[in-house]
């Protein structure tokens, strides 16, 4: 059961009542995130949210950590390309205390210089350690070339150069823009009474001040020609990441491509998985990905494989995409994909954490939590022709391919 209410300072609160387990997930969302960043301040959303979880004007780092763990709670920040926020998971009986702590974090963060320089070191180390995982290396290179110099082109953490430049003042401004009552949304899921939710969220979060309202930046990504880049690296494995410009969540083809994603590479019985892994034994990890984005997304095929099989895999991928594009989708295949999506949708909502995140995300992107039921109806309406039309547009665009291969030496 999902309900919502508005606080006196206009903050919207979404509440999903759950049963069985006595845990609550409470998340404060803001739409101000990577999408608003520039080449000069990439990573500012991440470092701002991280520092907010460190201390407040009322609680030192040590006291904050102690207050959170005294109630067995877990506090974390989350930052993605279109959303940012801070969340807590805790036992139902500590609802009042948890809400008070999270409101203190949102209302009264401090951005100490010492904390900032320490956090910078950690983020730079995280950025460096990304180079030790092949999947991250290929992804970082892909988004850099695919999204050119737009906000989506960099890791959520930013770059070493931008992180080094961050200062106390810029973070404070970013915080004021991100976490004001004009932008915040609160999402709660848990086995707790709605009146309790209303009482304590209202008591503590009505104090949040208003501020500058979020504006969706518009950026144009021009793909004038296909891009193909091969990188020789330290890894024993090779990797291919091949992506096409894909519709945003607001596009008419969004749902069709979501279904196409499942048929092509989103499950064990998908076309790519069957051919490349099951029939040819080329890979362990193979699939497709289509992230839901406010601005232009990408539809990518990924495969980790032996370097000897790169050309064979590329040929097979091209053949599978061409068949998909020219021969279309079978009715049964479409029916099966819809069933799978519906099943996965229900499974993903089993935890309070996932529920609070999903409903919060729907609100932030402007679809509203009510869209949850409409989404499944929209999936049902998709025809084989819808998919063919959408795929036709998708594959007519220029692709970006990154290939990682072991060192020549």
């Amino acid at each position: 059961m999902i309900s919502s209410f508005i606080l006196k300072n206009d903050i919207k609160v979404i509440f999903s009542k759950t049963y069985e387990v006595d845990v609550v997930a409470l998340k404060v969302f803001t739409p101000v995130s990577v999408i608003n960043e520039s080449l000069d301040n990439a990573g500012i959303s991440y470092i701002t949210s991280r520092l907010m979880t460190r201390s407040t004007k009322n609680r030192s780092n040590e006291i904050l950590a102690s207050d959170i763990e005294d109630i067995g709670a877990q506090l974390y920040s989350f930052v993605d390309y279109d959303i940012s926020g801070i969340g807590m998971i805790f036992l139902c009986k500590y609802f009042n205390r948890a809400v008070e702590i999270l409101s203190d974090i949102i209302l009264n963060p401090t951005f100490h210089d010492t904390e900032l320089s320490f956090e910078k070191e950690n983020i730079i180390a995280s950025l460096n350690s990304r180079k030790d995982i092949i999947g991250r290396v290929v992804y970082d290179e892909f988004i850099k070339l695919f999204y050119h110099k737009t906000p989506y082109a960099m890791p959520v953490l930013g770059t070493i150069k931008t992180v080094q430049k961050m200062n106390f003042k810029s973070l404070e401004q970013w915080y004021k823009y991100s976490y004001n009552s004009s932008n915040i949304l609160i999402s709660v899921a848990g086995n707790v009474d709605k009146n309790i939710v209303k009482k304590y969220i209202g008591k503590y979060f009505s104090l949040v001040h208003n501020g500058l309202k979020f504006k969706t930046p518009i950026f144009n990504i021009k793909h004038s020609k296909p891009i193909k880049k091969k990188i020789y690296s330290k890894f024993n494995q090779s990797y291919i990441y091949l992506g096409f410009p894909a519709p945003s969540i607001y596009d008419i083809d969004f749902i069709s491509i979501k279904v196409a994603n499942i048929i092509l590479g989103g499950k064990m019985s998908s076309r790519l998985f069957i051919e490349l892994r099951e029939n040819l034994g080329l890979a362990y990890e193979v699939g497709t990905i289509y992230p839901s984005r406010r601005e232009m997304s990408y539809f990518a095929i990924y495969i980790g494989l032996d370097k000897e099989n790169i050309d064979l895999a590329l040929n097979k991928i091209n053949k599978i995409l061409k068949d998909f594009y020219t021969l279309g989708v079978l009715e049964q295949e479409l029916k099966d994909a819809k069933m799978y999506i519906k099943g996965l949708h229900a499974m993903n909502k089993q935890t309070v954490n996932n529920q609070s995140h999903y409903y919060g995300w729907l609100e932030i992107i402007g679809k509203g939590h009510e869209y949850d039921t409409k989404y499944l109806k929209d999936i049902d309406k998709i025809s084989t022709k819808n998919i063919s039309d959408a795929i036709g547009k998708l594959f007519s665009k220029d692709s970006t391919t990154i290939i990682i291969s072991p060192h020549l030496k």
Binding site: E20, V21, V23, N61, E62, A65, E69, D70, I71, G72, A73, I89, F90, L91, E121, N122, A125, S126, S129, K131, D132, I133, I134, K225, P226, I227, K228, K229, K230, I231, Y232, S233, K234, N236, Q237, M268, S269, I274, R277, E278, N279, L280, G281, L282, Y284, E285, G304, D306, D336, Y340, K342, G343, L344, A346, M347, Q350, T351, V352, H407, L408
Partner: protein, 424 residues
């Protein structure tokens, strides 16, 4: 928690947990076989076998089982560990009976066609390569191989490529016949279903497996021995280290204390290691401690990421923090906090049907079914003295091993040779 069990004549056990509000049901089949059962020449066989079980059975040829599961909106997967192999399906609550039928056929009647074996060898060899490309996985392998010397817990789950490449169908089949026997299998059903129907169906399917003698238990208990300090140099950008020592055996009551002790030592922002090495001295980028429960002797392990220049200080401070607990104890507040943290994690692990099935099945398989139900009661009784005693009993500076992976000294790690071309 109300959990019911049924023991069938052939030795197979069914565990049932009815959750009336769950829309999703889960079936998990646990087989008491993992890498600890392998000989040196079978390294990775349990895992390879797990892959092949999805490649066709009498009634579900080729990949038709995974296709069937996905076509009814479900998910199917499997996991191989050192001590067990688990196959599971999560699906809508009204599909549970079909899931039981499919898993029973797969477990009882696998085909192991030579063609599928040959294809799957390539897939698994690729998985091994991927695994060893990951610094943390590589460390984990080395860590287990160091702290376990006699126990087969040192065996790698993922195994060796050359062994997988040369394994024959006959060896595979013999291994399967030895370990996939009813007395070695636990079936767990969790969700909103008709218990009578499920019991009957499991009896008609899994219950019909031929009764066979149980395999011999491998040597899984490790005697205490001195730790080692190992530093490896590789193509990595930062320092990675796993430090640890042997802990209690699965059957010992100290196992309950281990969770609390390790939580106080290195889980969360108020833990000893985090507060000192991360917050106060800024020696690490991250540090976490875990108690690894194993069939046989468990271990306490600490994963740290750091600037390589700090390695000696990190090692020393880890020792100092543990020694500090032995000498000064912990506060009542720290103990209470750790208990609450564990209770919280326990609650979170009962949210999904598959998580519940995994937890129940594991403890039944390990011969300690009351673990889940009595866990909280046991935790409540743990005292500060128990924590001190735990570290005194299992830790000494001679017993701890440190396995580190540091950037090579002679290479410039940002070296990437690239070529860029535009295709028309």
């Amino acid at each position: 928690m109300l959990v019911k069990t049924v023991k069938y004549k052939n030795g197979l056990t069914l565990v049932l947990k009815n959750c009336r509000n769950n829309l999703i049901s889960a079936i998990a089949v646990f087989i008491k076989v993992g890498s600890i059962n392998e000989t040196t020449f079978q390294s990775g066989l349990s895992h390879f076998l797990e892959h092949l079980m999805f490649k066709g059975s009498n009634n579900y040829l080729g990949n038709s089982m995974s296709r069937n599961v996905e076509n009814m909106g479900g998910c199917i997967n499997a996991v191989t560990t050192k001590g067990y192999t688990m196959y599971y399906i999560s699906a809508q609550k009204n599909k549970i009976e079909k899931c039981i039928e499919m898993l029973a056929d797969t477990i009882q009647n696998p085909l192991f066609s030579q063609d599928e074996i040959d294809k799957e060898k390539k897939v698994v060899i690729e998985e091994i390569k991927r695994y060893l490309d990951n610094p943390e996985s590589m460390l984990y392998e080395k860590f287990y191989n160091t702290i376990y010397t006699k126990s087969t817990l040192k065996n790698s789950v993922i195994g060796k490529s050359q062994i997988i490449a040369n394994i024959s169908r006959k060896e595979l089949y013999n291994y399967y016949k030895t370990y996939y026997v009813p007395g070695n299998i636990i079936v767990v059903a969790v969700g909103n279903f008709n218990e009578i129907k499920v019991k009957k169906l499991v009896g008609e399917t899994f219950g019909k497996f031929y009764e066979q003698s149980l395999p011999i238990e491998p040597l899984i208990v490790e005697n205490i021995h001195n730790g080692e300090d190992i530093i490896e140099y590789g193509n990595v950008e930062i320092g990675y280290m796993l430090s640890g020592f042997l802990g209690p055996n699965l059957s010992e009551t100290d196992m309950y204390i281990a969770d609390i002790a390790v939580n106080i030592l290195g889980e969360g922002r108020t833990s000893k290691l985090y507060k000192f090495l991360y917050e106060k001295k800024h020696l690490v980028f991250s540090i976490d401690a875990f108690f690894m429960i194993e069939r046989g002797t468990g271990n306490v392990c600490i994963m740290s990421l750091f600037d390589p220049k700090n390695i000696e200080e990190v090692k020393n401070e880890i020792k100092n923090q543990i020694q500090g607990i032995i000498e000064n104890g912990v506060t009542q507040k720290e103990l209470n906090r750790a208990k609450l943290s564990i209770k919280m994690n326990l609650s979170l692990s009962f949210e999904t049907s598959i998580d519940i099935a995994e937890r129940l099945g594991y403890w039944y398989l390990m011969g300690n079914p009351s673990f889940v139900t009595k866990y909280v009661q046991k935790l409540e009784k743990i005292t500060i003295e128990d924590i001190i005693h735990f570290f005194k009993k299992y830790y000494s500076s001679k017993l701890i091993s440190n396995i580190a992976l540091l950037p090579k000294l002679d290479i410039y790690n940002n070296e990437i040779y690239s070529e860029k071309k535009n295709d028309k």
